[in-house]
């Protein structure tokens, strides 16, 4: 996957990354940032960057034993460790299956009903 573009985010004190092409929607939410990737909804504290310079390393045997969650690899971003995951199978605390169809999520993102008032409006 090295050389591909990744969305790097922070959640729960750790940095995570998913392939950018897998992300359909990114929007702000009361709990931080909501990302929709296929049927999965990911929750992040913040989106840090889009990077195509992550160099993936396989997780060590010891790490895989003590943290047995699917992991596409490890990387570094700005000197911090990043765990690269499959958005379809996120680790605990990072994702959940979307509660509504992706189409509804996209329409909600495009909803301008709470837009800022234009000049002259109250």
């Amino acid at each position: 996957m090295s050389g591909s573009s990744f969305l790097v985010m922070r959640r729960g004190g750790c940095m995570w990354a998913v392939p950018s092409v897998a992300v359909d929607v990114v929007r702000t939410a009361p709990r931080g940032v909501l990302l929709v990737a296929g049927e999965t909804r990911l929750v992040a504290d913040e989106v840090v960057a889009f990077s195509d310079e992550l160099k993936l390393r396989p997780p060590s045997r010891i790490l895989a034993r003590l943290w047995p969650h699917p992991c596409a690899g490890l990387a570094l971003y700005a000197g911090e460790p990043v765990v690269v995951v499959d958005p379809a199978n996120p680790p605990p605390g990072l994702g959940e299956r979307a509660q509504e169809p992706v189409g509804e999520m996209v329409r909600a993102t495009l909803d301008f009903s709470d837009r800022l008032p234009e000049e002259g409006e109250s």
């Binding site: 790490l63 943290w67 765990v83 605390g93």
Partner: protein, 148 residues
Amino acid sequence: MSRLATDGEGMRCLLVQAGEHICALPLDQVRRVVRALAVRPLPGAAPQLLGLAEFGGEPLAVLDLARLVGAPPGARGSWPVTIVVTAGPPSAREAVGLAADAAIEITELPVEALSGGGGLIRGEALLGERTVRLIDLERLGEEPVERQ
């Protein structure tokens, strides 16, 4: 069994404080001793795994040495350290960080005086008035995994 770094009479080891235990790490498997690395926790990890840190331009898993050896918690170390070691069987060595309360000294451990042991602890020996537990780093990764 790993090649012993000996000076003729014993195994050269780094002594470290981990909770209330003094642990001996075979010196030939110790790569670096650094001030405690900033660790990023992983949700759902076994308690022995403190998280991930950056070391030498690479991500590094950092383990709680006191927890690994079942040491009762001791006084909070004034100079906590991370000891970067090579661990696992000789055919599959990998770098891992061990969080400890302090690095004490390098010493010769009389291997023939070791007794007891079990799990990660290869044996115990008396050094002066201190009980020292020799850690078998080749077995790191085979110990039972605590579950939260």
